[in-house]
Symmetry: C2
Subunit: 499 residues, 2 copies
């Protein structure tokens, strides 16, 4: 292995002047400089500093814990992983455990379906330490295809499925392929998950925003979408795709089958690629999830001439839902209606990074193919799954009720996803104080909230919002009500101070 | 969960004309179209098709197994994972196993250091299913810093370390930051690992090739590097960085401390960022690995004025070495001498993808901090580690000897990495036959080799080679000698046919 000679440790070199280096802030890739990603921005960095201080025993802070409500990170908070998933993954990581199945059963309660699944996946991937096919292991893609078939009632082709390192990496791939220069435009909902605007910045492409309707539970306003599209086209932008996040992030809104049809109508008429971010498809409290793929197939049966050429990509992930395994970076996307030559370029692009994490791929397989009713792990799986689902709904409602008690705060009823996105009406004095610090008023509010309570949320400006409105996004993942009461108390003091 | 109504399954939609879709091969991102990545290109796709055919019982092929020698994928072939690593990972995936430590010990032979390490890592990450800090979990970065300190004798700063999803994703990050437009140039060795040229294509930046010296065991020719640099500068290219792959891929060559100094000299004089791809740092058969970081720190002590502003980034990975866990996508890079404002942009860029796979991060920790001599898992670890190392060396030598027996094949003695990169002198008739198929002669050769033997290697053109020379890259990972004899036999028939 490496040599272990202990030479004198050099002290950290002092920072030198910018001019002496090759790279400085003014000459690196300007697209990176321009990109914004508030979910892990200044507030998150500060929250992490507070966390470290508390861990080091610092008693000077006015709170005793940091609540990371800035990001949908279920297992960082209270959510326990689903036992079946993790039992299988433990066997995949150490197949030698399979040499003593009796001990697995008697000492650790591993059921036969856990063992059988691990053996099946190992037979496919050989080792989770080996590169797989760049699109993902064939058997896993077949399993995803069957899941889509069961969900939608329409077949799916494993060859059109691409496993990914979380949905984020899928979005990155797709926008890379679609955007061919500064003139390429993509319709993005506002508010949106900032992955979209950030990636468009990185690609130096044009973001064409369309406003969601807050007063209609953050529904998709098709007229607004058409207006934005026409304006962009009139300005010379080559609008190529429309992003729909359903259920919505940060809004939680669920699209009806009719709204989905309207989006597909616009896509068919205007030749837009539909990017359906469906990672919250199981986080639905109100109504029922309809996939874009299903609706498209229905419409293709009804009016093939109109819909047959619609290009749709649908994304899913192990990060959200009741799975909540975001640290594993697993996900997939399905290409529908793409030119095979374009799909081949998608393949080449992803192959440069070799393959998505194989253990994450296996987790995708477990997510889309959980224990069946007659299998021994089913009962526990179902109990855990339902428990997580009910817990999320309960916490969403508790937070929603707290917001209703707060002066100047309005929030749409929770419908799905993992977030609430309330409006805050801030007094003029607060807006002035924010301006004096060269900050947007909602950013100012969120920073003060963090400093006073340790609760980290993300200002609405990080997602986009109508001018002169202020919001913040908070997850409803954190357990207990203490942190909610911290927000309530802070808010009333903040309002009093700035009135 | 999702609805399971079984509606009639629609047949796959027929492909429509290109014109009716938004995206076609001529209007997508031209940089993707231009990128080349032969390691997973046409040959690899064909090899996979053969594999599937064989698995389906097809008896029509002239071979009974496919040997994927196109890619350094140790565990796809014979290499067994190191037990200590996988035992710890199994506990991280299912922490409930820790509830019965006695059974872990008695039924599965888990040692106390395995259990202690798992508990330590779990205390840090909470759950491998949770997002970590975007740069990687702090404790893991500290562990990497200590490893670098032990290896080099110079301190490392955890804040300057970025855990990645394999080294590939690190290279992608760095080239994204460095390249600010078509005029930005990066010196890349020829032959090289095509990740570099592919990523530069994706960024529409300029690849400035410098030739390695085949006759000097693929050594780095500093004069050639300077010449390429001056030519590129004269042509108006803003050369910003130099890539060094050490030990080399595809060449296996190891740089001496003197050669490293010469590269650092050029970097200091010309203000170039040094990108040191050191993923094969433990795959060294001849001489000893010296890291760029260590050499730089030594020179900084000797002549601070000259070297203090050198910007260096060093990459490492769990994919190669005796670890061979490429499917886990783990790695890191260390920034040395970077402007803090630039480092902050690196952070923002990676944060958009949230975090590298957490289980891969934990594997990085295990790689850099293996069982110590007085710990119970040490003996087995050392035995497995040495066994893999010796096996690799033995196979490299066997393959090298086979190449010496082959007419018109010349190969440098194996020095390191996982590859041999022989020259093949092809008869004119073979070159003509290749041209008739619109192929480079080495591509033609490799394709015929695959069709005849099931052995998949990568033509030299995929890595770059001097004009009118032909090579191929093969890993020496596959066990046994049968596949080597397949190559020998094919080669002699090929030469006879085309003479």
């Amino acid at each position: 292995m490496e040599t272990r000679t202990t030479l004198p440790i050099a002290s950290q070199r002092a920072l030198s002047t910018t001019a002496a280096r090759c790279l400085n802030i003014d000459n690196i890739n300007p697209n990176i400089k321009a990109a914004k990603y508030a979910v892990r921005g200044e507030l998150a960095v500060k929250a992490e500093e507070y966390r470290v201080k508390l861990a080091q025993g610092d008693k000077s802070l006015p709170f005793d814990s940091v609540i990371f409500a800035n990001i949908g990170n279920p297992q960082q908070l209270d959510q326990k992983p689903i036992t079946f998933f993790r039992q299988v993954l433990s066997l995949l990581e150490n197949p030698l455990l399979l040499k003593n199945k009796e001990a697995l059963r008697t000492s650790f309660g591993y059921q036969d379906d856990v063992i059988a699944r691990a053996e099946k996946l190992l037979a496919e991937v050989q080792s989770v330490g080996a590169y797989s096919h760049s699109q993902g292991a064939p058997l896993i893609r077949e399993s995803v295809a069957k899941f889509i078939e069961r969900r939608d009632g329409y077949s799916a082709d494993p060859q059109s499925l691409f496993l990914t390192g979380g949905a984020s990496s899928g979005v990155n791939t797709l926008l890379n392929v679609i955007c061919n220069g500064p003139n390429a435009g993509v319709l993005v909902p506002i508010p949106q998950y900032p992955l979209y605007t950030a990636t468009l910045s990185l690609l130096n492409a044009t973001c064409v925003p369309y406003q969601l309707e807050e007063q209609k539970a953050w529904g998709t306003d098709l007229d607004a979408m058409r207006r934005s599209l026409q304006q962009a086209k009139a300005a010379g932008t080559d609008v190529r795709a429309v992003v729909v996040i359903n259920p919505g992030n940060p809004t939680g809104a669920s699209l009806s089958a009719d709204d989905i049809k309207s989006v597909l109508d616009i896509a068919a008429e205007e030749k837009l690629v539909v990017i359906a971010d469906e990672v919250y498809q199981t986080n639905v409290f109100v109504g029922e999830f309809t996939s874009f793929k299903k609706r498209l197939r229905e419409l293709q049966q009804e009016v093939p001439a109109k819909y047959d050429n619609v290009e749709l990509v649908s994304l899913h992930s192990v990060s959200k839902g009741m799975v909540g395994e975001c640290g594993h970076r697993g996900g997939y996307f399905e290409l529908v209606g793409f030119d095979p030559l374009v799909a081949a370029q998608v393949y080449k692009f992803i192959s440069i990074m070799l393959c998505p994490p194989v253990i994450g791929q296996c987790l995708v397989e477990l997510m889309v193919n959980p224990p069946k009713e007659d299998e021994p792990s089913h009962e526990l799986y179902q109990k855990e799954y339902n428990g997580i689902r009910e817990g999320l709904h309960k916490r969403a409602l508790a937070l929603y009720e707290a917001f209703q008690r707060m002066e100047g705060v309005e929030c749409q009823e929770p419908q799905g996803s993992m977030y609430l996105f309330p409006t805050i009406t801030l007094p003029p004095k607060a807006i002035e104080s924010a301006a004096a610090e060269d900050r947007a008023a909602d950013e100012f509010y969120c920073l003060r909230l963090l400093d006073a309570t340790g609760v980290c949320v993300v200002p609405g400006s990080g997602f986009g919002q109508k001018e002169n409105t202020f919001h913040f996004r908070t997850t409803f993942l954190a357990p207990g009500t203490d942190w909610v009461e911290r927000i309530v108390k802070f808010h009333s003091e903040f309002m009093a101070k700035h009135n």
